[in-house]
């Protein structure tokens, strides 16, 4: 049996990465799989991809895909700046970035905004779970008002919707999906990878561990009762990833989360015009009022120049220009000296 190759004759194994160290059943791993599949199916050259991330559970995932690509797991919330600098250095790379809601909606929201504003040519995968996982379950700025975590008070603060924000900022590709909606997510991921400009893919990816609940609380209590030495948060329930059947366009689908609550996903209708930012914002606002999440390609504008195009850089990526071209000539310095001396 021959191994299946993609359009550039590479097997899918060339797109895979290391083993995940996230909690078993984490939706982020489903997203990593979609990234692997999409990059393979799109025939991207692994060496031409740069994997970028910040800090958090989501930002660890570039270790779990595309091990033949260089990557940079930077600092919390500041991945967009590093990506901007790298894009100036080598504009021909495909920047595939993974970030979380802590990164993007809190500590790094300014960098997120300015990367959108510059239309930096990158795929910005936002693995959105509403909690700070690595610091053990604090609410993030995308947590839904009224949600309740295992310990502490109910979240009373309204959430930031990064899709709404991005549309208002003139983002050129805005989509929302769910980590379990493999089919829809794959389509959107491949589209984002093909997009020239900033592609935001906001993926709802519930936390298996800290989006906690009666059921796991019970499990937690059970374990705690049986092992007093166990640290309060050391027990990670083993979960199966949430799978969601794709909802047909314009219809919704209810998903039961790890905490037993229901997430209602509505696929945006085929009559939605993704070039109309007002319609996209309207759909997001209505969904919010109805306690639903609208998914699909919300907004798309392929016409804007990217951050590197705005620079009017020479054709060759700057990192590949020979040193003697990057350094101006000795004659030019003679001229400058002469000008200062008033002799030119």
């Amino acid at each position: 049996m021959s191994i299946k190759l993609n359009v550039i004759d590479l097997p899918k194994s060339d797109y895979q990465g290391g083993a995940s160290t996230l909690c078993p059943g984490c939706g982020h791993d489903q997203i990593s799989n979609v990234i692997i599949n999409s990059a393979w199916e799109n025939g991207l050259r692994p060496e031409n991809i740069a994997k970028m991330s910040g800090i958090g559970c989501s930002s660890k995932t570039p270790a779990y895909f595309l091990s033949q690509s260089h990557g940079f797991n930077t600092v919390h919330g500041r991945m967009p700046a590093v990506t901007t600098g790298a894009a100036m250095g080598n504009k021909d790379l495909t920047f595939l970035a993974v970030s979380g809601d802590g990164d993007s909606a809190s500590i790094g929201i300014g960098q997120f905004i300015h990367a959108v504003r510059r239309n930096l040519d990158m795929v910005y995968v936002l693995e959105n779970n509403g909690v700070y996982g690595l610091t053990k379950g604090q609410y993030s700025a995308t947590a839904v008002k009224g949600s309740k975590k295992k310990k502490g008070p109910i979240n009373e603060t309204q959430p930031i919707d990064l899709c709404k924000l991005a549309i208002n900022l003139g983002c050129t590709f805005v989509a929302r999906s769910f980590s379990g909606s493999k089919k829809q997510l794959s389509a959107l991921m491949k589209a984002a990878m093909s997009h020239k400009g900033f592609a935001l893919l906001d993926i709802i990816s519930p936390c298996v561990t800290f989006n906690n609940n009666d059921e796991s609380l019970r499990s937690y209590t059970y374990v705690k009762d049986n092992d007093v030495e166990l640290h309060a948060y050391d027990y990670i329930p083993t979960q199966s990833p949430i799978e969601a059947a794709a909802a047909p366009e314009g219809e919704y689908h209810d998903i039961t989360l790890f905490d037993g609550s229901t997430l209602r996903l509505e696929t945006i209708g085929s009559d939605h015009d993704p070039t109309d930012p007002v319609a996209a914002l309207s759909a997001l606002h209505i969904a919010e009022q109805e306690d639903k999440h609208v998914t699909g390609l919300l907004y798309f504008d392929p016409t804007k120049a990217t951050a590197t195009e705005d620079q009017h850089l020479v054709d060759t990526p700057l990192a590949e220009i020979p040193d003697d071209i990057m350094r101006p000539s000795a004659a030019s310095l003679d001229e400058i000296n002469a000008r200062f001396r008033g002799k030119a």
């Binding site: 692994p46 060496e47 031409n48 740069a50 994997k51 570039p62 270790a63 091990s67 033949q68 690509s69 260089h70 990557g71 940079f72 797991n73 930077t74 600092v75 500041r78 967009p80 700046a81 590093v82 990506t83 901007t84 600098g85 790298a86 894009a87 100036m88 250095g89 080598n90 790379l93 300014g110 960098q111 905004i113 300015h114 510059r118 951050a307 590197t308 620079q311 009017h312 850089l313 020479v314 054709d315 990526p317 700057l318 990192a319 590949e320 220009i321 040193d323 003697d324 071209i325 990057m326 350094r327 101006p328 000795a330 030019s332 310095l333 400058i336 000296n337 200062f340 001396r341 008033g342």
Partner: protein, 597 residues
Amino acid sequence: MDRIVNDFQLNIATANGTGSQSANLILLNTMFDMGVPVSGKNLFPSNISGLPTWYIVRVSDNGYQAPADRTHIQILMNKATWDEDIENCLAGTVIIHNTDVKMAVERDDCTVIGVPMTKIARGLNPKLARMIANMVYVGVLAEVLGLDDAILNTAVSQQFGGKAKAIELNVEALALGRSFVADNIDISDIPFRIEAREKDANEFLVEGNEAVALGAHYGGVGLLSWYPITPSSSLAEAIIEYIPDLRTDDNDDTMCAVVQAEDELAAAGMVIGGGWAGIRAMTATSGPGISLMSEFIGLAYFAEIPGVIWDVNRTGPSTGLPTRTQQGDLSMLYEASHGDTQHPVLIPGSMEECFEFGWRAFDVAERLQTVVFGFSDLDLGMNNWACKGFEYPEQPMDRGKVIHSQEQLDAIENYGRYRDVDGDGIPYRTLPGSGLDPILYRGTGHDEDGVYSEKPEIYHGLMQRLKHKMDSARTWLPQPLMRLEEEQEVGIIYFGSMENSIQEIDDILETEIGRKVSQCRVRALPLSPAVEDFIRDHETVIVLEINRDGQLYGIMRRELPNELIPKVHSAAYSDGMPPRARHYAELIKDVLQEVNQ
């Protein structure tokens, strides 16, 4: 009466935003072009228009460039500081004032010259009278001091870039100022005169920020990311200004990207992204910016990414005195970020070095695969200084250990991104896009192959290698410059803009206490072993700094062998002003008295 030739100080008190800067530069350039050693310092407020500004011109055949102990000629243009400025005048000062301000000058012990400057200016152009009045005082000074008319007119023409109308107007204002003095004032009692000297035809005036900016271009800078902050903005703007001339191809496409970042954090992040992708990236900032960049600086240190950050130091802490100078960031630069870190710092003390370190900083950063700081200050960066010319780099760029091909990679036995195969602490790296042995760079603990690790021996080994890498640079970073006296009793260590005061300090010590002192100007951190030798060779060593705490002194106390520490003393002082020789000479005398030398 005895003339005082080329040895006095002017103080021009104006209001910010009135056009006095042009007038003052014309005055400075005229004296400079007459071959007279002169320096100009702009003491300006954090304000665009209206607040007081002083311009200090030191004229000195000895080449002294720091502000003198006293002012000899005071120009009064600003009502707001009028009384204070008069009060500051010592007996014998020549006070030249604008009578149209309608403020009294009651000083029997000074020579007081009143000139209706605004009225004269109004006669030329009523709308621009406020600005032209400044040129009238230049005309008055030209007549009193004896400035060369042709050279003065050339300076006007250069200042206004050939704009005929502006030149004509200003030349007329000069002439009217001159003739007012000639017709109305007896200047025979005024001793101060300028006499032309032979001018070094190669010498010109330039600001340190512009010199660094040019240096950066000759270092092949591929990305400038920056966030505006006084006093570094003019460095970034000078880089931008030279791009069309120096860094574009025939299609007007550029080889130097410029991103005005959303903040200093982003500016630093972009530098690191650029360095990671394989270009020479830099930013320019001041102390508050370094504070914000510190997290990224630690990442660059730990993940070993090259980058260049220029700190044009202003007076801290916090917003501090944003338009005043200091050497207050040195220890922060050396150890910026959390955990154990150490960063090379290049410290120019002249315009020639500002240019040289402008390009050399990239060589150091790429060779060491780390962030390198250029350390300037407001005094050096934003004032005009004499420069003999910029020298083209003799060697091609040092791009460090970058692997570009599979053959190169195969030739290295047991390659790992963070493996020290050469024993100098510096590993090899490959670039994104090359497909050569890619890794996921990270700010977390990593082993020699770049794989995540928390193992104690791996972390310890990595930190020791990084230390070894920095230590290995001590002998090849810019070495200290020495001026050794035979006696080798007293040694002075100093750095950066203090260079402009050191000759005068030296002369004061020799004249007043008969001491000849050796000098050692530090030009880089980590310190060269030559600094240790200098200390060893002298009985008493005093470290001069423009800060409160003696930051270089502190670094020395930690790094020097214990037996040398008692020899070393600190003479640190900071009040926001450029270093005045008198202050430091007195501090040195105090130390010598204390140690009974």
